[in-house]
């Protein structure tokens, strides 16, 4: 089996992420797990925003549906984590298809409003359907059943073990998303983003593609939510609220919607900042709001986009991007945690794939 350079980069990144927690305290491993889950959430959002050109202010609803579906399943008679994740993704994807049906033909502003409205409808349903969802108190005590690996069962209760499980699932999901963006479907989505009327004239049926993107995005948001349920242990209807919908928007904006790794980068930055800053000040919304305003006004491509633009300018005149392969890439990725210069290089490499 030949693995091309992209495959090596992915493997290297995953390896780096696997090695990362070994020097860190438990609390930081918690943060890393959250970064992975939120990064997946944001990447799924970006499939709609960056690649299809649709701003959805209601993706949190699918996150929440995934979380509740998985949470309820895990508290039932046959708790199985893989099954719970699958259920979460399917339930969320189905809901997204239903909502998408209502709104994929609308233009940008109406689309945003419809997604917001439907998101709130789902929020109210989760909140009011007390008998099933536990109402405003939510569902607590969601277990982490041991993972049956055939020969043995992996106990997921320790933070580190659950981190590795999350890493495996998130890496696989992100890889699938990434392949989608590189596939003919992904190219068509970009065409829809750039000029959906023209796509329609060409007879491609842009509404169908938008719907597909919406469904896929919803399903992966649901998967992120389904990971969140056993991670956090408690879930509440607030996970469907539009404030939570704004999280992937901010993360994507910060990291850069034009770069696949952008949302993940944004998720990492925001989660780390939140933890660092929240202890120092209670005025987190002020910081985020200012960051959003500045980003929109001056840096719409986000950090990832800015990095990529910088790199493109510095590339040698032949347009060749030669990258070290194999273990070197992995080491570089690991060094990214401490060395900004390497991070830039990484960012560039990531996009140029």
């Amino acid at each position: 089996m030949t693995v091309d350079r992209n495959g090596w980069t992915w493997l290297a990144l995953v390896a780096a992420a696997a090695l990362l927690p070994l020097g860190l305290r438990e609390f930081h491993v918690h943060l890393l797990t959250e970064i992975l889950i939120l990064g997946l959430f944001a990447a799924a959002f970006n499939l709609l925003f960056g690649y299809t050109g649709l701003l959805s202010f209601g993706q949190a609803a699918y996150f929440a549906i995934g979380a509740y579906a998985c949470g309820l399943w895990l508290k039932g008679p046959w708790p199985s984590l893989p099954l719970g994740l699958l259920l979460g993704a399917i339930a969320a994807g189905a809901a997204a298809l239903a909502v998408g049906f209502l709104c994929v033909r609308r233009d940008e502003i109406y689309f945003a409003m419809v997604t917001l409205a439907c998101g709130q409808l789902i929020f109210v349903a989760l909140w009011r359907w007390r008998d099933v969802t536990g109402g405003s108190d939510g569902i607590g005590g969601i277990p982490r059943p041991p993972l049956d690996l055939g020969a043995a069962a992996l106990n997921l209760a320790p933070t580190l073990h659950f981190y590795y499980f999350t890493l495996a699932v998130a890496a696989a999901a992100l890889y699938v998303l990434w392949r989608i963006t590189r596939s003919p479907l992904g190219l068509t989505l970009r065409a829809v983003r750039d000029n959906h009327r023209r796509v329609d004239y060409l007879g491609v049926g842009m509404a169908r593609y938008r719907l597909a993107a919406f469904g896929v995005s919803g399903a992966f948001c649901g998967l992120a939510g389904a990971l969140f349920a056993p991670y956090q242990g408690t879930i509440t209807p607030a996970l469907a609220n539009w404030m939570w919908s704004a999280e992937p928007v901010m993360m994507t904006l910060l990291g850069g919607p034009g770069v696949f790794a952008g949302p993940l980068l944004g998720a990492a930055l925001i989660t780390l900042l939140k933890d660092f800053v929240a202890s120092a000040t209670e005025y987190w919304p002020l910081l985020v709001g200012t960051a959003v305003v500045l980003l929109v006004l001056f840096l719409p491509g986000g950090v990832g986009g800015a990095v990529r633009d910088l790199v493109v300018r510095w590339k040698p005149a032949g347009g060749l991007a030669i990258r070290p392969e194999g273990p070197a890439a992995g080491r570089l990725a690991k060094a990214r945690a401490g060395a900004p210069a390497a991070a830039e290089a990484h960012g560039a490499r990531e996009e140029a794939i």
Binding site: G50, S136, T236, P324, A348
Partner: protein, 462 residues
């Protein structure tokens, strides 16, 4: 949204001897560098950047061995932000006094305060951060019952004691009991029973409720009305009830609907900003002309400070468990000292939650010194059965459910021109702690079965 797109520029050339060729590494301004150099430099940079954090961590850890850290969790933002503030204030006063008296086991007390924003997931994250990142020895506080029930589940894996000082949901010490949680505040069962014993003396027959639709609302109403029904079989429980959301500001339609059902008396479990809104809106609509109001928390001090004379007379309440002017008989001197110290420090009278949080810190000191350590297992053993001295009353932490048992008083509001908020609670009737607390057998039975209490059938339209 157009971006420069480098997709499509497929790079196919690759050198077989790339490992030894000097290649331009992107981002380093075209300086010729071997890959090895580059890697060495990055590794060095990484180590250099990481080093200070290791050093800092070590120093911090050494320094941190000294103070006893207490993590305080309260709702510092949101509809009940005042309650979070008074939680912090009570803890602050206690910490200052404890440190002035030599600290705990000779070590100074350090408070780390976190905001849970009345949201269960935020509270859980904060609790986790306090224990794993800040290495607190104990957790104290929590205003919102939903947040409490969520944090409860994390306590075993965090291996820390939480001393609850406000949230009253009885589930926390009954159905969802876990040994890491102690509560030095009365719970919904006790408040409900005391309230019912108090209310039974009045002639009201038709009863309804306006309460927030989460654990606290259900349990407050349920425990109150089920006991009242047992004491007074003649009462009628109306099926028109109001269950607005916690934090929703508009009660006008609920009030209208309730009024049309013509109750004699209404129980309100609204608290914080909701209680301010509710009472004001009730006043606008003349709701309380001919309808009596019973409420544990709607007449806590924050509401009085906010509304003053807008609070009508003859409302019935226990001021959420502590009225600063009326300590238990025999505790006048201790209470006076506390009230004066609190006023001097914060410029206002002590809220019941401040009173409870203040006491929690002192109880923690007592238990830690009795155990000789702040280690959790020993702390739990010391806290069980501990006699706790509040400024306003005395109580003890019951071994079986870690719930404080103390006497409680209910009274009614009356005009008070001498107080800044122009109202006081008077005619206080004290109820014995043992009489208002469900027996150990009852508690253990419910804990084993895990059933919801019977009184949920009295909740309609929630």
């Amino acid at each position: 949204m157009s971006q420069r797109n480098t997709i499509g520029k497929s790079v196919t050339s690759r050198s077989a001897t790339a490992a030894h060729r000097t290649v331009p590494a992107p981002g380093l301004a075209g300086q010729g560098l071997t890959r090895r150099d580059f890697l060495r430099r990055s590794a060095a940079a990484a180590a250099l950047l990481a080093a200070p954090s290791f050093v800092y961590g070590a120093v911090a850890r050494a320094a941190a061995a000294r103070p006893v850290k207490v993590g305080v969790i309260g709702s510092l933002t949101g509809a009940v932000s005042v309650w979070g503030r008074v939680t912090r204030d009570g803890a602050t006063l206690a910490a200052e006094q404890i440190n002035a008296a030599g600290g705990i086991l000779g070590r100074p007390v350090e408070l780390i305060v976190e905001d849970d924003a009345s949201a269960p997931d935020v509270g859980t994250r904060r609790a986790r951060k306090l224990v794993l990142e800040d290495n607190v020895d104990v957790l104290v506080g929590v205003n919102h019952s939903g947040v409490l029930l969520s944090i409860l589940e994390q306590l075993p894996s965090l291996n820390r004691v939480l001393i609850g000082t406000c949230a009253t949901s009885a589930e926390a010490t009954v159905q969802r009991f876990n040994k890491y949680f102690f509560r030095v505040h009365s719970n919904s069962d006790q408040e409900g029973m005391a309230g019912a014993l108090y209310a039974a003396q009045f002639p009201y027959r038709r009863w309804s409720v306006i309460a927030p639709n989460y654990a606290y609302g259900y349990e407050t109403w349920g425990s109150f009305i089920s006991v009242l029904k047992a004491l007074r079989p003649d009462i009628e429980i109306l099926d028109v009830q109001a269950w607005p959301a916690f934090g929703a500001p508009d009660f006008t339609s609920h009030i209208t609907r309730l009024r049309a059902a013509r109750p004699d008396a209404v129980v309100s479990a609204m608290w914080g900003g909701d209680a301010v809104n509710l009472i004001r809106q009730m006043q606008r609509f003349r709701f309380l002309d001919g309808i009596a109001l019973f409420s544990p928390a709607a007449l806590a001090l924050d509401v009085l400070y906010a509304l003053g004379e807008e609070v009508p007379e003859n409302l019935h309440s226990n001021a959420h468990g502590y009225w600063f002017e009326a300590p238990q008989p025999g505790r006048e001197a201790a209470n006076q000292t506390f009230v004066q110290a609190y006023q001097a420090r914060f410029g206002e009278y002590p809220h019941s939650t401040a009173h409870a949080t203040y006491t929690a810190l002192w109880a923690f000191k007592q238990a830690a010194e009795q155990a000789g350590t702040t280690d959790t297992a020993h702390l739990i053993a010391a806290l069980e059965g501990l006699e706790v001295q509040f400024p306003g009353y005395k109580g003890y932490l019951r071994k079986e459910d870690h719930q404080i048992v103390h006497d409680q008083a209910w009274g009614r509001t009356v005009a008070a021109p001498d107080l800044p908020f122009r109202r006081r609670i008077t005619d206080l009737r004290w109820f014995n702690g043992e009489d208002i607390t469900p027996s150990v057998e009852q508690v253990l039975r419910l804990r084993e079965s895990g059933d919801r209490p019977d009184y949920y059938r009295y909740i309609i339209g929630a």
